[in-house]
Subunit: 450 residues, 2 copies
């Protein structure tokens, strides 16, 4: 049953463990830790091995590290032993980063089969499908009798080796994946038949599996899962041999993480360094983007510096000039957010990029004219100078047009260069809107007003 509020009493939490989901236990533990680390460690000690691994995986990064330091190698080995291959590998790799010796001790304590699988999964790069898959799955040889495979499933489930099973993967003698049969279909067949007999009865596309390769990028896998509404996707390696499966909950995490990363990148934040215990590291990473922005700001100042005499003789320009730059920056950010997101979602690609640019230019020009009128009127009234109103109005149209054009083109250009459009596009765009904004306003003022 889902838990509404965290259980902050250690004893109450322990006596309810059986009814709670690991997520909820972790949620409660987090609250307990905030009030007393002693209570936190006390509960940790008491949670049985069978669920502790899942609980640890749901804790935030900094608490996970505390847990790895607190628990003995022996205890951690027992905990890892209960996990699926992908989760076990994750924990071992996390411990390696903190204490290589401890990680080695834990690894050495595992069974040979588990060691082999972990070593194999560790070889995948963190962006590869292989690093997200679990090797535990329900498969059957095509010549096997359905009932025999179900008997195997029963044993595997009773020993908690398998869960979250939605289909049986049918392989040939070379372990090559040739079919995937949903349990909702399997349950309807005559269990005395072999899989071969069943598959022959149906048309060839009936049980054709969607597959991904172990070296595929996880983002590509996520796109397939989204596009084809899949619950689980089998992973094949060399020679189409079935090596694992990726479940929907992992894909959900990938999608959520990618969205966070995109939002952070647009704002000049590096997600990887946001959960550090050492805040100076976080500050350093953010400083990098602020430093690039400082470059942009100094460039803008240099542009203003070109017109120091104009400003000296007409101080209203200094008062109004942030308006042009700020409006350009904001209109550009609107365009940028739409382009970056729709490129990521696949709604915009190189085939229809011209339409997208045209759309953004139309919108930014439309708003350019509207705000030219408004701002021109405000400037005219404020400083009682019609020409000043005309200058700022013209500059507004120019800057909003360039905001739309560059806001749309910069992400496309970055993507063409094989750079993630979310990275750096904000700084590039601000440079353009600041320089175009200040230059157009002050240049027009110099030409028209003086």
């Amino acid at each position: 049953m889902p838990l509404e509020n965290a259980i902050k009493n250690p004893h109450e939490l322990l006596s309810n463990l059986n009814e709670l989901h690991p997520s909820d236990i972790a949620f409660s533990l987090k609250k307990i830790e905030q009030e007393s680390t002693d209570d936190f460690y006390y509960v940790l000690k008491e949670i049985p091995d069978e669920i502790l691994g899942q609980v640890i995986l749901e804790l935030p990064d900094n608490l996970r590290e505390d847990v790895y330091e607190f628990l003995s190698s022996q205890r951690l080995c027992d905990v890892v032993d209960e996990l699926d291959s992908d989760d076990a590998t994750d924990i071992i790799q996390e411990i390696e980063e903190i204490d290589n010796q401890k990680a080695k001790e834990i690894f050495d304590g595992l069974e040979e089969d588990d060691k082999h699988e972990i070593n194999w999964l560790k070889r995948y790069h963190e962006d590869e499908a292989g690093s997200y898959m679990q090797t535990e799955l329900f498969s059957a040889n095509i010549q096997e009798k359905i009932q025999d495979s179900i008997t195997r499933l029963k044993k595997a489930k009773e020993s908690h080796e398998l869960e979250n099973i939605h289909q049986v993967y049918i392989v040939n003698d070379d372990k090559k994946l040739i079919a995937s049969i949903l349990l909702e279909d399997l349950i309807l067949f005559d269990f005395e038949k072999t899989y071969e007999e069943i598959i022959d009865l149906h048309d060839e596309n009936r049980f054709k599996p969607f597959i991904v390769h172990d070296k595929d990028h996880i983002d590509e896998v996520a796109k397939q899962v989204e596009k084809y509404d899949l619950n689980v996707i089998p992973v094949v390696g060399y020679n189409e041999i079935l090596v694992g499966r990726i479940t929907n909950d992992d894909i959900l995490d990938v999608i959520e993480e990618n969205a966070t990363e995109q939002m952070y990148q647009l704002a000049g934040v590096n997600d990887d360094f946001e959960h550090e215990d050492n805040l100076l590291n976080t500050a350093k990473k953010r400083a990098f983007w602020l430093f690039l922005n400082l470059g942009t700001a100094i460039l803008a100042s240099l542009v203003i510096g070109l017109f120091d005499e104009t400003i000296e003789s007409y101080v209203a320009l200094a008062i109004l000039m942030p308006i042009v730059a700020s409006m350009g920056g904001n209109a550009g950010t609107q365009t940028l957010a739409v382009m970056v997101r729709q490129l990521a979602l696949g709604d915009i690609d190189f085939d229809n990029s011209k339409d997208a640019i045209k759309k953004e230019i139309f919108i930014s020009l439309a708003n350019g004219f509207i705000f030219a009128l408004i701002v021109g009127f405000v400037a005219y009234i404020w400083f009682n100078t019609a020409l000043l109103g005309i200058v700022i109005a013209m500059s507004m149209v120019i800057n909003l047009f360039s905001a739309g054009f560059f806001g749309a083109s910069i992400p496309l250009f970055l993507k063409k260069m094989d750079i993630d459009p979310a990275i750096g596009s904000t700084v590039l765009l601000t440079t353009v809107t600041d320089i175009v904004g200040f230059f157009s306003f002050l240049m027009l003022a110099k030409m028209i007003l003086l």
Copy 2:
């Protein structure tokens, strides 16, 4: 099998329909439409009713509207008839918005059962779990023999009434949901037993279902699905009566849409109006946020206006002042993005909000001092005035501190007021960083330099 590239030849597409997923057919249709609308309509006519509905649902908004106008009421009725209740309701509601009369004709042509379900689903608000659920599910009375329910499943699957089945929902005589049994468990049981016998054999938590209520907000449902790694979640109504189920693919869409919405809101874009055919409407919605930003910019200009004499006697101030505001704006945006996203993901809540604010203040102060040094030095060298360097350095610390403090507090404040923290927080923050930036810099200059 997944499709690498769109099939742009209408005849080739039609002859491969059986092997293609509706998403891929829609993807190819989109490309065909870009080259020839005649070909697009030709293919539409030829796609069989059984798959056309799914294909339509995968088309972009503007093409869906074209399809609704092009196809006859009779044809649309046949297409809707093949869909699950939730999809059928979506299409009927979309047609209602374009042509109420046509929607009525289609509705009248449906079977009584379907009419009843659509009318019932239409009553849910678009944010309610009920509007995302499908009523098609596999349930069984607790006293039913397992084999009998499987026979029913077989019939329902043969007539294409049910698919994507992962569990059987067990109800009592009042239709109240009391258990959910995964197919991976069901397949292991003795089919001659009744569900009651099976459930009694196991402990009470074994088959306890995670449930949501039909009136729950869909975002809450999405959170549960993410937290508990669910594939499907049953929906209950009044008196815990089982009324439907929500599948993981719908939740994936909700999560993706929420992320898009959040990113857009931070940038001042309203997602609902970005897919309009009428670009003036899109421009109008974006103009609303630009208008708020104009207010901010004018406020900043008013602040600068307070110091017109200071600027007149010292034009370097006009040249440097955008640097302070821009650095504050950027540092604030970093903080804002992190706060908004972590509030949405539940990593930050009111319990640990003080820690989050402290963290952000620490980071912004650390960077404030670093950039004070850099910018102070640049200003000193550029204008050969040590005091100017000191002024801009002090102002940088003040503005980056307030960027961190307000960047962290504004989203929390909005959330406390029950307003979505992503909405409007950017404009509020820019107002603060602009005003604090310009005011602190010019005021310090007036006091120290003149």
